[in-house]
């Protein structure tokens, strides 16, 4: 692009002024018309919608709606979303503009080499060949922008507004900069609870990921043994547990461990006293039950993953190791585990993040408790549950978005560090 600005001729200059003009002057009629159409569509978009959306992105509306008298008014949240969409479209427009200028400049260079301007058909063929990655990814990138980037950017931007509490549509939302973050940092009540929950959250994420992974791998190894009869039959049981929706499993376990549930019934019928497995005094019992229930839900997926990877193992490695005198534990430690870890490290990191942000387990098992020493939280709540209590339950979306960004910073830093240190990244060639 910079070369085009420095060395472009008059035709390139005209393309800079009006998209497609240079191409038309070079005789590239079809390409020129397409760029002209893009230019026209861009103008149409900005005149009809984009300009208003971009202005609305900054203003977030002015007229408060009053549906009781039929006054439509402005919806700040919709304006924020449409504003982001307009910016994405502006980005696409700029990308097309750059492509237009570069295209004209490339034709100038071809002309300089004595070559005729590339024909439209030839350029289409090039797009399907040398530039295939661009043409193949064009539509998916648009989809990613609209369905992934837009919601993520929207959620991030919410942290910089006063959206939530009493300020929900039809009330107008305003930009407040970093005030949500400042409020979180300045509130004295938050720090001790944040620290306690973060410690438990880290322990939970490590423990649950390790239990699920190792048990899944163990089960897969067990069911891989030639001596096990009816493997398909046995594999079906964990898959059944996996197939039941998670929240139904959690509600079922909550009932099982409740005072009136079957476990306590058996205890009382045997002459014992009912145990409060999940009540407000049951800090570590509830945490342990959480780990076990999570294992029940997650081990099947780990098992299936490990089963698939183990099927790719080179058996000659085991045979050689056995000949060299390696025992079962040594073979597992030196061959199986490194191989499986190498292949599943990215999944393991995903599982760690998933467990770190596992909202459902304690929300369904032990929700609705505020415990002494915690600020609007219980001793089994994870950061994500606390975030829910503080923001969604209280309607404070901007604070919720700010806390999620903090959680994101923590989890992404951990994930990145673990991945960079893992064999999957450092010894990529080892298992190839």
């Amino acid at each position: 692009m910079l070369s085009a600005i420095k060395h472009g001729n008059r035709k390139v200059l005209l393309s800079m002024f009006l998209m497609g003009l240079g191409q038309l002057l070079y005789g590239q009629i079809a390409k020129g018309i397409i760029f002209l159409l893009i230019q026209a569509m861009g103008l149409w978009f900005f005149i009809g919608f984009g300009a208003k959306a971009i202005y609305g992105f900054f203003s977030l509306g002015a007229l408060v709606a009053d549906p009781s008298v039929g006054l439509a008014g402005d919806n700040s949240v919709v304006m924020l979303i449409t504003g982001i969409f307009a910016f994405i479209m502006l980005g696409l427009y700029i990308a097309c503009y750059i492509s237009n200028v570069k295209g004209a400049y490339n034709t100038q260079l071809r002309e300089g080499c004595g070559l005729p301007p590339a024909r439209f058909i030839t350029e289409l063929k090039d797009m399907a060949d040398g530039g295939f990655h661009k043409s193949a990814l064009f539509l998916p990138v648009i989809g990613v922008c609209v369905f992934n980037i837009l919601p993520i950017v929207y959620m991030i931007l919410i942290a910089f507004t006063d959206y939530g509490g009493d300020i929900v549509p039809p009330a107008l939302v305003s930009w407040t900069g970093l005030s949500s973050f400042a409020r979180i940092i300045s509130l004295g009540q938050f720090a001790p609870t944040f620290s306690k929950i973060l410690q438990w959250n880290a322990l939970w994420a490590i423990m649950s990921t390790a239990i699920n992974y190792m048990c899944g791998l163990g089960l897969a190894l067990l069911l891989n043994k030639p001596c096990v009869k009816g493997k398909t039959f046995w594999r079906a049981f964990p898959v059944l547990a996996y197939a039941v929706p998670g929240f139904i499993t959690l509600i079922g376990f909550k009932f099982m461990f409740s005072y009136g549930g079957p476990i306590n019934q058996m205890i009382t019928e045997a002459g014992g006293r009912a145990v409060g497995f999940l009540d407000l005094d049951a800090k570590w019992t509830a945490r342990l039950i959480g780990l076990l229930v999570n294992a029940w839900i997650a081990i099947p997926s780990s098992m299936l993953l490990a089963t698939g990877i183990l099927s790719n193992m080179d058996n000659s490695l085991y045979e050689s190791a056995t000949i060299d005198g390696a025992g079962a534990w040594k073979r597992f430690k030196s061959i199986t585990l490194p191989f499986v870890l190498f292949a599943t490290m990215p999944v393991l990191i995903t599982q760690f993040i998933g467990n770190f942000n596992n909202f459902g387990i304690f929300y369904f098992l032990r929700g609705g408790l505020y415990i002494d020493g915690y600020f609007l939280a219980s001793d089994t709540d994870l950061l994500i549950n606390w975030l829910y209590n503080l923001s969604i339950d209280n309607n404070y979306y901007s604070i919720g978005a700010a806390i999620s960004l903090i959680i994101f910073a923590i989890t992404s830093a951990v994930a990145l560090a673990v991945y960079m240190l893992s064999p999957s990244y450092r010894q990529e060639e080892m298992f190839k």
Binding site: M16, V101, L376
Partner: protein, 472 residues
């Protein structure tokens, strides 16, 4: 170089200019908008009195009314009555816990909603429901002022009360001893003492347990704030005073009420700590394992179903007002002076969505559904307590009794404010803690003296305050 940079600059200016010009033209500033705001009135000007013809209105009813067939009867009757005008009511077929605030602006939601007053009134902020014209409400004269109060805000009326929700006592009349007139009617008024006094209920429950450890007298999931808050109210506690900054869970002698909860827990079992009794209460009352439970009038049919399943005659199911409390809070004592139990209640009713295209037809539906005939039918099919005095009087029994309690200010209506949502978790945690206390080992009990109850109530009040105001 300069020319080419200028060409790019001109192109950029064109786009930025378009955004600036058309963006600015399409919007107005907040100060301009403030000048153009519409003056508020006591009720929505959209109620012109002229029915919209040929419209379909979607009505959101409660699930029990739909399941029991009442709603079908209601819309059939309404559609027949308004067939000439071409107005048709249909089931909105939406989740009864929908969120009009978030869904309404995007065109999703019913035209008429039936919900509890605290749920409906949160929609007043933002004008998601319409202020109704009192003169056009046919039930205006028949519904007591205390029920209308639940729907008053900003000088307007936002809903029409249909039924009063307040806890009542369901009990097994056949489990009352045959000699109750001699043993359990101290005041000789012809009503068993255990249905009139919590002290007598406590002693009766203890007697049942001593006779058969597997049987219980009064049982309840005591953690449930909707029912447990009444013990605090009766001794001077309250949720919100003038505003949500004034939280009065520990006000007056509320600690005595908290002590009553602990005493009641001691004659139950650990099931009172969580929601086990809420779930199994219907079946266990039917089987005779429990003598009495406290719940709302609208679940009467669930009890009758369980009685039929258990083969217990439905005649054995008794319903009474919640007993009175001893002024000193000592359930095991002689209980000389009794004070009324101030229960927490709610008023379910109809409201009209601001997003409806046919407000006048909706108002006609609300008037029809809250009419005398439909109220009596609703009472007969669902066992609800009509808010209309004439229908309650005609229905008699429980309906009349609950209406009288409302008139006597013995029902504290749930505050119609959004902040009420922050009350349930702190209060539920506290009541769960108190209910658990008798089942803790001797040295680990927390609530062994009045100061501990006071401290617990103050802590719960602080949590409510924090939940509402910390991030405000």
């Amino acid at each position: 170089m300069l020319k080419r940079a200028a060409a790019i600059g001109l192109h950029a200016i064109l786009i930025i200019g378009l955004i600036g010009f058309f963006g600015f033209r399409g919007n107005i500033s907040r100060s301009e908008a403030a000048e153009s705001s519409i003056a508020a009135s006591a009720y929505s000007p959209r109620f012109t009195g002229e029915l919209e013809h040929g419209v379909t209105i979607r009505v959101l009813e409660n699930d029990t009314a739909i399941q029991q067939g009442y709603f079908e009867e209601l819309i059939d009757a309404f559609n027949a009555a308004y067939a000439e005008q071409g107005i048709k009511a249909v089931d909105a077929n939406m989740d009864q816990y929908l969120d009009l605030e978030n869904d309404g602006p995007y065109g999703y939601g019913p035209d008429v909603l039936y919900q509890a007053n605290d749920v409906l009134m949160k929609y007043v902020d933002g004008n998601h429901i319409l202020a109704l014209p009192p003169d056009a409400l046919e039930a205006w004269e028949q519904i007591p002022a205390s029920a209308w109060e639940a729907y008053q805000a900003q000088g307007g009326i936002y809903g029409v009360p249909v039924n009063i929700q307040a806890p009542v006592l369901y009990y097994r009349s056949d489990m009352i001893p045959d000699n109750w007139r001699d043993e359990w009617d101290g005041d000789k008024n012809g009503v068993p003492d255990m249905l009139e006094s919590w002290g007598a209920m406590y002693r009766f429950s203890r007697g049942i347990r001593e006779g058969n450890p597997a049987a219980y007298g009064y049982m309840k999931s005591l953690w449930d704030p909707y029912f447990a808050l009444g013990y605090l109210f009766s001794y001077g506690g309250y949720i919100f005073g003038e505003d949500t900054y004034d939280i009065g869970l520990s006000a007056g002698d509320a600690a005595i009420g908290a002590g009553v909860i602990r005493q009641l827990a001691s004659v139950m079992n650990e099931d009172c700590i969580d929601d086990t009794v809420t779930k199994n209460g219907y079946a266990k009352l039917a089987s005779g394992e429990y003598f009495a439970v406290m719940t709302t009038p609208d679940v009467y049919t669930l009890f009758t179903k369980e009685f039929n399943l258990a083969g217990t005659p439905v005649d054995n199911l008794g319903v009474a007002a919640v007993p009175a409390l001893p002024a000193d809070g000592d359930l095991s004592g002689p209980g000389a002076e009794l004070i009324p139990f101030k229960v927490m209640g709610g008023v379910n009713g109809y409201a009209v969505s601001s997003y409806t295209k046919a407000p006048n037809a909706c108002l006609a539906f609300v008037n029809f559904a809250s009419g005398y005939d439909m109220m009596l039918r609703r009472n007969a099919l669902l066992g609800i307590v009509p808010a209309r005095a004439d229908a309650a009087s005609e229905a008699g029994g429980l309906s009349e009794m609950v209406n009288k309690k409302l008139a006597d200010n013995e029902i504290v209506i749930m505050p119609s404010v959004r902040a009420l949502a922050q009350v349930w978790t702190p209060a539920g945690t506290l009541f769960s803690d108190i209910a658990k206390d008798p089942y803790r080992p001797q040295g680990e009990m927390k609530y062994t003296e009045a100061a501990a109850f006071q401290e617990g109530l103050e802590k719960a009040g602080q949590q409510i305050y924090d939940a509402i105001h910390t991030l405000q």
